[in-house]
Symmetry: C2
Subunit: 331 residues, 2 copies
């Protein structure tokens, strides 16, 4: 086996690409798969695996928070497709010496996260494993004329972010180094920690879109792997480029009193796990949406040239070309 390429050498994205060869091409490459099960609706499916010490740690995350975050990650993938949730399944790999209380608290976190959306745990499996593993599959539904996918962006589209970025990364820093961020107000501080421990899936965005428009063309993705990754993936799928405005990227309140602006922008672009949505939509739709949904911010524009450039309108920083190489790799 020594001369064969290893998973580690290939990396996550390259491995996924090899595995895509085994899947129907129309079903891969988005946050979730769309299955046509009725005339007017798609069934939407997404799955995530979380592993102890890779995706969570007792140092920064309680069992209930692990459950909450895993659920949010999956519901966020549904939101990224424009879908509302039906339910989730939970597969657990558990070391024998793990406390039963940990498992029950995990479930409490899952149910608490699902509850506002009237979704439920609809199935599961438990088995022995040397490492605590949580596998969640979320099921949702979306009307066929209101699907959001990565490949629908067109030059001229407005790029929106549905909220601040870098908050989860900042919250992690505060959990790991509680002596940091003395300049933050108590409320700012607790919001950053909350952003890391109890992020919300942006299903409220999907509800608002459904109220505003009976049908639409919107390209989108969630920012679980960072804002830069989301914009880059959308541009790659849609074969377009983007001009992002550095000064318009929404940052957490008070963050630049603690860290430099350059650091804050870096966390926003690459920190990941903010579980916001990036949406690319025609100007008229964007205008009415931003009026209704106050947290949404215009961060740039889709262009024809297939590169993603970060621009500074004040000219303080040179234009920066973003690439997928800097994104989060799981291996």
């Amino acid at each position: 086996m020594s001369s064969e390429p290893q998973v580690r050498e290939l990396g996550e994205q390259a491995l996924l690409k090899r595995l895509y060869a085994f899947c129907p091409p129309e079903l891969v490459g988005d946050d979730a798969a769309l299955l046509r099960v009725a005339e007017d609706h798609f069934l939407v499916v997404t799955t995530d695996l979380l592993v102890d010490r890779v995706h969570f740690s007792d140092r920064t995350t309680s069992a209930a928070d692990v459950g909450w975050r895993a659920t949010t990650a999956n519901l966020s993938d549904l939101a990224a497709m424009g879908a509302m949730p039906l339910g989730i399944t939970v597969g657990l790999g558990l070391p024998g010496e793990l406390s039963v209380a940990w498992v029950e608290q995990l479930y409490q976190g899952i149910v608490a996260c699902l509850q506002p959306f009237k979704a439920a745990i609809v199935g599961g499996d438990v088995c022995r494993s040397s490492v605590t593993t949580v596998s969640i599959t979320a099921l949702g539904q979306v009307p066929t004329n209101r699907t959001i996918t990565r490949d629908q962006a067109k030059p001229g589209d407005v790029i929106l972010a549905t909220g601040v970025h870098g908050a989860s990364r900042a919250g992690l820093e505060l959990l790991l180094h509680p002596e940091q961020g003395q300049s933050l107000e108590p409320l700012e501080r607790s919001r950053l920690i909350q952003a890391h421990q109890r992020p919300y899936p942006r299903l409220d965005v999907i509800k608002t879109l459904a109220c505003l428009y009976p049908a639409f063309r919107i390209a989108g993705m969630d920012t679980s792997d960072g804002l830069a990754d989301a914009v880059l993936q959308i541009c790659q799928s849609s074969q377009v480029g983007a001009q992002l405005q550095r000064r318009q990227i929404p940052l957490p309140p008070g963050i630049t009193d603690w860290i430099t602006e350059t650091q804050a922008i870096d966390w926003a672009l690459y920190g990941g796990e903010d579980f916001e949505l990036v949406l690319c939509l025609p100007m008229p739709l964007a205008e009415t949406f931003v009026q209704q949904f106050k947290e949404a911010v215009v961060i740039g524009e889709i262009v024809e040239e297939p590169i993603v450039v970060l621009q500074d309108c004040l000219g303080q920083y040179p234009d920066e070309i973003l690439s997928l190489d800097k994104g989060f790799q799981h291996f």
Copy 2:
């Protein structure tokens, strides 16, 4: 944490029962969950987690076989609900040093198993883990008037098994101890090994039932955890009992030339992973079904008294009361 009860102390069934408290009661306790998404159909969902050295081993199972078996286990759960598959998702936890070839062969096995049923891999996730973990969620559909559940058995129902039992357990024995079973014909031997490495989900049973009956009442379950477990679970859910006939339990051809009948019956009852179905249905349905589906065998009858008894019509063995305690426990 030392004084808190551990997962190991509680055991799999007791842990599952505690976790059921977090789920809607109508969705748990069967092989898969039924979600009402349309007037005339249920969406059916089931999930399974497989862990290296717990559920598979390089010694007895190639990567392609792991993929095949995991897929069969999930499709078998769909069959146990009367459903035909729509697709599956695959979540993988992978050590960095695992060969890429192993992962691709796993996928080849999955796709090969799905192919006859025109189902596909519709989504997935890969991440780093210290232990190879395969999480599969299968999605299917069943007409509302043709669902099979565990709780529908009634006294007087005929109990059918859809094929031989103990073959997977016997195949495992031959893989671990190739010097054994010298009395077996080459074809018998290869069929037992095949039963372990490449078991088939009994979706052909579901197709036959759909052809024969537009609607029905059938209680059923798959025998992934053994024939005894399936009958016991059905009886518990339906609040009935069963009389099983020892001499009618279908055993693999040639098996009693190799091992004792007592051993063979033990493997049939408790070996597990045969992925056959146990069906409980009214006599007239059972008669037409057995005529159409030649592998199906009558193994007993549902009775009122809520115990499961294994009887020997020849009187050679005393009546034996079966209980869930002897079933397979994953912790």
